[in-house]
């Protein structure tokens, strides 16, 4: 299972899951440059021709609800990492 860490001064992430999806609520606390990075993550999944993999819903105050299909969970986490919205990602064995 993937485990990740983030800087709580920059971003807040909460995660919940059901049978098919993982839902993230992501609040970007520092607008520059992290909102733009978040938009790049969104654009990546908007442009990849799979329409239901990762769905973004922009809410007020730079808060994003993101519904991620379970089979795209790792892709989403790694894209956040690529744009340095996460500080570290690691595989936790035995879980």
């Amino acid at each position: 299972m993937l485990s990740y860490c983030f800087n709580e001064q920059v971003i807040q992430i909460t995660e919940s899951s059901d049978e098919n999806d993982v839902q993230f609520l992501i609040k970007v606390l520092q607008k520059d440059p992290y909102v733009e990075k978040m938009q790049k993550v969104r654009r990546f999944f908007d442009d990849n021709r799979v329409y239901t993999d990762v769905l973004f819903y922009a809410l007020a105050d730079h808060t994003y609800k993101v519904i991620v299909r379970i089979d795209f969970y790792a892709d989403f986490i790694l894209e956040l990492m690529k744009h340095r919205l996460l500080e570290s990602v690691e595989w936790k064995s035995g879980q």
Binding site: Q39, R43, D46, Y51, L55, F56, A58, L59, I67
Partner: protein, 426 residues
């Protein structure tokens, strides 16, 4: 019948059968068909090039560039979310709003482009509401074909007819086809709601999540958006005025497309040109040459003479024959090759003494565009939406679609028959 004509018919039928079988991509098949017509000497290379209708191709390319660049701004997602919020997250109202937006957009943009813009937004909204996306997608397929009927640029059959008949302007298409398209949409929307009513239910909590969406975040580049909207408006105004300006519709669309690239800069050009569906463009090229073989060998003239004999040269009978034949054929066959064959036939009927061709052109447009709603293989937009839906885990089967599509298509053709009769034939 001359030997050349027999060869032309043989090549045409074989190519048509392979296109219908969908075993090989239709573009490859049509291009090979066109090449064979030239290689067998049925039509010379110069004559073949003369038969390729640049106006149809230029119009499609110009509009694809404009829409491809405009889509980058997030405008279409923004409009859909605004509509969902205006509908207060209520699935029935969202279905109506998205259907209406699809029909309106399809009137001014190519149908395939419209559904490619609407499908991702539909998945996004329906997932948020936890409702089945299939009713929304079926309603959008049908709305795109109905909306596309309303204008010269809305659907390939109309582009081809508008290009082939100099007397029919952009305004003529709107004046003659938009009213009946609007009536058909007004009749279809309550039927969509009734048919899909059981799937259009969600909770109050989920409706509230739609109202919380911040649509402004979707507009990613306001400067580019302003440029796109300016060019799009100028282009549509250009369509309205194209006859007065003595410009072909392709010149207007290409002027709009390349003005937009001039204003947005070179970096956008590569991306914009990849948005042009070159497979569709080459499909048209192959078909024009393929049909030219039938025209040059006199096959089309003989078919026209036969049609006049069947209908006794009566415009009412010919209009109804063309309307219903086009609708049934377009429900099962690709309407582009069908219309490519019918256009020279109607022109030939004019040469043979049928004086009032106008109802025949509108019958062909209505039959070919609306007939596409009959089955899943009736139009490109249907195949694109069902393909995308299946890939995302929501299969729309041929039978499932036809149960809704075919009766509604017949209803639309009944409405069109009454319209054609009352407006042009009484």
């Amino acid at each position: 019948m001359e030997q050349q004509a027999i060869w032309a018919i043989g090549i045409f039928l074989v190519i048509y059968a392979v296109i219908i079988s969908e075993k090989i991509h239709r573009t490859i098949v049509a291009m090979i068909g066109g090449i064979v017509m030239v290689a067998f000497g049925i039509v010379g290379q110069e004559a073949a090039i003369e038969h390729i209708d640049f106006n149809t191709l230029g119009l499609l390319i110009g509009m694809m560039i404009i829409v491809g660049v405009t889509a980058e701004t997030g405008l279409f997602k923004y409009i859909a979310v605004i509509a969902a919020k205006k509908a207060k997250g209520e699935p029935v109202r969202i279905l109506i709003a998205l259907s209406a937006i699809t029909a309106l957009a399809s009137a001014f943009l190519d149908n395939v482009t419209t559904v490619l813009l609407m499908v991702p937004v539909t998945f996004s909204i329906t997932r948020q509401l936890r409702v089945d996306p299939i009713p929304f997608l079926i309603a959008q397929i049908m709305s795109s074909n109905i909306g596309g009927t309303a204008t010269l640029i809305g659907d390939p059959p109309n582009i081809m007819i508008g290009s082939a008949v100099d007397e029919l302007s952009f305004m003529d298409f709107i004046v003659n086809l938009a009213p009946v398209a609007a009536i058909i949409m007004a009749v279809h929307i309550p039927i969509f709601v009734f048919l899909f009513r059981k799937s259009l239910r969600t909770t109050e909590e989920l409706k509230r999540t739609i109202m919380e969406l911040d649509e402004k975040e979707l507009l990613t580049d306001l400067k580019l958006l302003r440029t796109c909207l300016t060019v799009l408006t100028l282009t549509i105004l250009g369509f309205f005025a194209h006859q007065a300006l003595h410009l072909e519709s392709a010149t207007v669309a290409l002027a709009g497309g390349f003005l937009l690239l001039l204003l947005t800069g070179e970096h956008m050009m590569e991306e914009a040109l990849t948005k042009v569906e070159w497979t569709t463009i080459f499909f048209f090229v192959g078909l024009f040459v393929l049909v030219s073989g039938l025209v040059e060998t006199g096959v089309i003239s003989q078919l026209a003479a036969q049609a006049i004999e069947w209908t006794g040269g009566d415009v009412t009978a010919a209009s109804m024959l063309i309307l219903w034949l086009s609708a049934i054929a377009s429900a099962f066959l690709d309407n582009i090759p069908f219309v490519a064959t019918m256009i020279p036939m109607i022109q030939e009927m004019g040469n043979m003494g049928v004086s009032n061709l106008e109802p025949l052109w509108w019958s062909l447009a209505l039959g070919a565009c609306l007939g596409g709603n009959g089955t899943l293989i009736g139009a490109s937009a249907n195949l694109i939406v069902s393909g995308l839906s299946g890939k995302e885990g929501y299969p729309i089967t041929f039978l499932k679609y036809s149960i809704y599509g075919f009766p509604l298509m017949i209803l639309s053709i009944v409405i069109s028959s009454v319209y054609i009769y009352l407006r042009y034939l009484v």
